[in-house]
């Protein structure tokens, strides 16, 4: 049994942690929050120089050619630091879609730019409230052009390229749109986590290339979302672990009734429950990244398991972080809200825990019927 990362991979993780401790302490997140900027573009360039954006991109397309085990560990460190960069939108969603289905020319053009940090990618999926289905999509692709309106696009106001889910005929097409081209209007919208900016993107006959085969985009989209779910789960896991650590440290130092509040069983048991939620999520994340790295069909079950349990863990840890801090936890000055915001933003951005539970049961039921 060797269900663990290698020493080299753990060393890479430590390098990432040290790098972010120096270049992305919580103050860097707060600076973005308080300045009204959407991100820290210097940090984006620095992480690209470290090879992070291109971790899963082959060297022939300008990537670092590491692999998914390495990318998962980088993701968890980005999550610990709640780094103010659009890592999930660009790396787990756009890059994965192009890696999976792009032709050679598309890969050469976009993967190289995504790996170097020159491009920022995103996936434009939502159009209204809830989770879109192939039937509900109103954005259309036809004859090299995309038209329609997308909302809540992650990193939408800083992205340079978008994978747009559109309808073409009776099928779904994933269309690749250079956001600097004509026919694209952006409208920044406020985000619950302003360090993960969102925007509305309106396409009016914007020039687009088909990613993969026209009309066959639904399965591709599902695969992209499964892969992103695993990687984002690793990022959520990092956020959850850091939340618990900070909560613990605070509770050890805060005295009430003559004792550290960390000695009260009412709080100890809740922190133990957070620990349990985090461990269950971590084990599902291990399973997920194993399936991702090995391209195993179990990804269909492992991705929802990782996504749901990591969402639950980060939700729990960030909610408890505020509560256990007490009054100061509700202040702008303390850092609890940075995690509270990020946990919710990540818990929604590629579909809620309920969406993913439903997806899981569809797959389990299909498997049981087969």
């Amino acid at each position: 049994m060797n269900f663990d990362f290698s020493e080299d991979q753990k060393l890479l993780q430590k390098t990432a942690r040290d790098f972010l401790a120096e270049h992305s302490p919580l103050q860097v997140n707060r600076n973005v929050l308080e300045s009204g900027k959407d991100w820290n573009s210097d940090l984006w360039k620095q992480t690209a120089e470290m090879g992070w954006q291109g971790a899963a991109i082959p060297e022939s397309y300008g990537g670092a050619g590491f692999g998914y085990l390495e990318l998962a560990l980088i993701a968890t460190e980005v999550g610990r630091a709640i780094a103010p960069i659009p890592f999930a939108a660009s790396v787990y969603l756009a890059t994965e879609a192009i890696l999976l289905a792009g032709n050679d020319a598309q890969k050469k053009k976009w993967l190289t730019a995504l790996a170097s940090g020159a491009a920022v990618g995103t996936l434009a999926l939502a159009e209204g409230l809830g989770f879109p289905s192939p039937a509900s999509l109103k954005t259309t692709y036809s004859g090299g052009k995309v038209s329609g309106k997308k909302i809540g696009v992650p990193g939408g106001n800083i992205a340079t390229v978008a994978v747009v889910a559109a309808k073409s005929g009776s099928g779904v097409t994933l269309a690749l749109v250079d956001l600097s081209s004509g026919g694209v209007t952006r409208k920044p919208t406020e985000s619950i986590d302003p360090t993960q900016a969102v925007a509305e993107l309106e396409f009016t006959g914007a020039p687009a290339e088909v990613l993969g085969a026209e009309g066959k985009g639904h399965e591709l989209l599902e695969t992209v979302l499964d892969r992103a779910a695993v990687l984002l789960a690793w990022e959520q896991l990092g956020g959850a672990e850091r939340s618990l650590e900070l909560t613990r440290d605070f509770a050890m130092g805060r005295y009430a009734f003559g004792r550290p509040i960390a000695s009260f069983q009412a709080l100890k048991h809740r922190m133990a429950d957070e620990y349990v939620a985090i461990e269950l999520a971590k084990s599902n994340c291990y399973w997920g990244v194993w399936a991702l790295e090995n391209n195993d069909p179990e990804l269909a079950l492992a991705a929802p398991a990782a996504r749901v349990s990591a969402t639950q863990a980060f939700d729990l840890a960030s909610v408890e972080m505020v509560q256990i801090h007490g009054g100061v936890g509700f202040t702008w000055e303390y850092d609890c809200h940075l995690f509270y915001r990020r946990a919710k933003q990540q818990g929604l951005v590629i579909g809620t825990a309920s969406n993913w539970r439903e997806k899981l049961v569809q797959r389990l039921a299909a498997k049981a019927a087969a």
């Binding site: 049994m1 269950l280 194993w290 349990s309 539970r357 389990l364």
Partner: protein, 406 residues
Amino acid sequence: MDFNDTKEEAEFRAKARAFLDKHLKPLAKGEANNMLSERDDRDSITRAKAWQATKYDNGWAVLTWPKEFGGREATPIQSVIWNQEEAKYRVPPAIFGIGLGMLGPTIMTHGTQEQKDKYIKKMARGEEVWCQLFSEPAAGSDLAGLRTSAVKKGDDWIINGQKIWTTGAHFSKWGMIVTRTDPTVAKHAGLTYFIVDMESPGVEIRQIKQINGGSGFNTVFFTDVKVPDSNRLGRVGDGWRVALTTLMNERASIGGGGGGLRTEDLIRQARNAELNGKPALEDSAVRQKIADFYIRSSGLKYTGYRTLTALSRGTTPGPESSIGKLVGAPMGQEVAAFAMELQGLAGGELGAAQEAYLGSPGLRIAGGTDEIMRNILAERVLRLPPEPRLDKETAFKDIPTGPATK
């Protein structure tokens, strides 16, 4: 990252299989060893003893023990591999676990040479069954609050009191008992540990009837039971330290995990049950619950794999392995309740789900309650401060107690 055996592990597994194949029949598909219900039947105890002797004589009985006690000094991962393989065969009930897992190692650590010679081989070979007499009606989670007394009289000790939750007392030859020998000192300081002959006059064993009608445990009454001083394990007053050795050897539940959840079964039940005029499987609340059970259960399964990896690398899994019981036991109760709810109006009729529901509270209490497990995680993993103890420095006789329970 993979799930495969190392070369050495694969070789060990093959050796274990070869031995098992020679002596046992593999389980048929869907067949399971019914470990608990068979325990009382004399014939299965005879078969269990015979199988233990066969294992011992061939070097497969006490894998991790030192060679001088009949073991093969196997690594923990080899022990796990053996357990995985043995579980694939039809085996008699495992009635030696408490002795071999906890009591044997305690004698090895604290016993005299004479005690080691007298007891260990017969224990390992399954000739004599052992039981553990720790808990009392008023001392469970707070074990050091136990009240069974031992008073020195000449070369003997006279034991009086009541022990409870004793697995297998009614077919055990020997018991290991913690007693209070000095109530005038602080509670942890006044304890002494003995080996007691369960056939002694004054030992009365009564089976406990559980919520689910089963009787896996006993309560044992001691009335002026005489134990020679040569049966004392460790020094007088050192019983807590000896007891800790026993408790630390309580086997961590490793691998498996998932509380035995079979998602296919839940899905089939939901497909066959009607809710709002359609199959319950089409109901969103039902689907969300099935997914939730599956996700917790896979989390446990892969936590088990992470633990096995630690063992495989020669490191000892820490107290974090307590999450298996803390998650699995309450989930077993929830899954049973859910299965009954699917049955709707007819859900009160006694069947497998109902049996599971009635049996499930025991697993949340035995071997450390959910609440004790949370304390362990909070204090040993998260390093949060221990509970303030009001009774730590007080003489035991002065510690306040509640009224006697039934």
